[in-house]
């Protein structure tokens, strides 16, 4: 889901939003405090669904605002000036460090230590397939991911604005000549990427039970790997890349050792960049 954010922004702007992992991080914090405000212990049934759903919406809102802020402060001034590509990268890394340190310094909210999530959704086995047990939390994550992906796919492929997003991704100058307001499309793209990252952030928090200022780093790298693996700029590719990366990691964990999981993600990233930089479903390199 984070991969979708990278891929959307890249597709439209040919720009890797390196601060995207902090958009995710903000989502885990927002999810945490939304949950805390509503419940302190285990919940069940309708209440649980309502509480988790609301927390997810809060996280999506907070992340979307962060993404919009990033666009406004870290990217738009550069775009208006026609700045070279490297300055976007520097600006993104700067924004990323700023957000991390902000949460580090703001001890009432963040601080150096991880902040625990309230144990609202007690983990238990939902069902078992082929000897693997699937927990209720994993079920929630997969279901949300599929729903988000389908919604995004419909939005991009079938809506008026989605058509504009695709046109800007393919050829911004011509899209402008056809009446597309490119600034607006860029904002919508950051917004959608932020919504996705926020949903992912709150789910990640529920699953791992904590939020911390640097929590976005590993998932950010993995999502970037998934996006590159599937072919960056390609929404269906991002989903495929995510699935494949998950499979490869688990295969590695089974075949080697569990602490190799993150190493495998990095190996995959390096391998894809070396051998097939356009990814599995990647766009042909434009001349």
């Amino acid at each position: 889901m984070i991969a979708l954010g990278y891929t959307m922004v890249y597709g439209v702007l040919q720009l890797i939003n390196f601060a995207h992992s902090e958009v995710f991080m903000v989502g885990t914090f927002a999810g945490l405090y939304a949950l805390k405000a509503m419940a302190s212990g285990p919940e069940g049934g309708i209440v649980l669904a309502g509480v988790v759903g609301t927390a997810m919406l809060a996280a999506m809102g907070a992340s979307a605002l962060t993404a919009l802020g990033l666009e406004r402060i870290a990217y738009r001034p550069l775009r208006n000036r026609g700045a070279p590509r490297l300055s976007y990268l520097i600006s993104a890394i700067g924004a990323s460090l700023f957000l991390q340190n902000l949460l580090f310094v703001l001890t009432p909210i963040g601080g150096p230590a991880p902040r625990p999530y309230p144990n609202v959704m007690v983990r238990r086995t939902a069902f078992t397939v082929l000897g693997y047990s699937v927990s209720n939390q994993q079920l929630l994550i997969v279901a949300t991911m599929i729903a988000m992906y389908l919604a995004l796919d419909r939005f991009v492929m079938a809506s008026h604005t989605g058509r504009g997003i695709r046109a800007v991704a393919e050829d911004p100058e011509t899209a402008g000549m056809m009446g597309v307001n490119i600034k607006r499309i860029v904002v919508v793209t950051f917004l959608v990427g932020g919504l996705m990252a926020g949903a992912a952030g709150s789910l990640y928090g529920i699953y791992f039970g904590q939020a911390r200022f640097d929590i976005g780093f590993i998932p950010g790298i993995k999502a970037f790997t998934a996006a590159v693996l599937g072919g960056i700029g390609n929404i269906r590719g991002a989903l495929l890349g995510g699935l494949l990366l998950g499979l490869l990691e688990n295969l590695g964990v089974t075949c080697i050792r569990s602490d190799w999981q993150d190493v495998i993600a990095f190996l995959v990233l390096v391998a894809v960049l070396m051998f097939r930089p356009s990814g599995l479903l990647g766009e042909a390199v434009r001349g």
């Binding site: 046109a167 899209a175 009446g179």
Partner: protein
Amino acid sequence: MTPILEVRGLRVRYGAIEAVKGISMTVGQAEIVTLIGGNGAGKTTTLKTISSVLRPAAGEIVFEGERTDRLPSHEVVRRGICQAPEGRRIFPRMTVRDNLEMGAYARRDPDGIGSDFERVFALFPVLRQRLRQQGGTLSGGEQQMLAIGRALMARPKLLLLDEPSMGLAPMMVDRIFEVVREINAQGTPILLVEQNAQVALQTAQRGYVLESGTVVLEDEAAALLGNDQVRKSYLGTD
């Protein structure tokens, strides 16, 4: 009658290079006007500036009595100027239908858009059969039809065409220009940019000859066809 488009003293630069050096021209309410000239003369630069893709360094562009040179490109489309750009610039991974829809992006009148789809199919019947195909899979001639059709979907009050004959076989050029005349006969004024001076001057009522960013000649198309200088430089006849 006042012209629909008036360009006054237009100058456009790319960094240190001045590509358009103070040109002035008009397009009347029902005219086909052509801008001819060799490669690098500044024709595309002029059209892109009219579409607000480029900003002029000096001069004015007045459309229907109002300046448009400070507006963003999407606003210029809403005012009624749309173009079929040089090299067609079809969105290659979007379907023919989506490409046509893109022309109507700034509009919010489903009924009007529907009837304009029919208008485009009447002009270019082959597009109806290609609706679900990706734009990039069409032949050069079909892509040119799609590019013109896409621009028509904006229901422009002024249509800009940048080298519609480029890279096409003579028979296809004839077919495209037949439709260009038809579009004009239906009431749309056209500013036609061409390197193919022969076909352009046979189609247009008036013409401007551009060399190194300046207008060197302007006259009735028929007069330009007979002009010695034009015949030598652009028609390859003596």
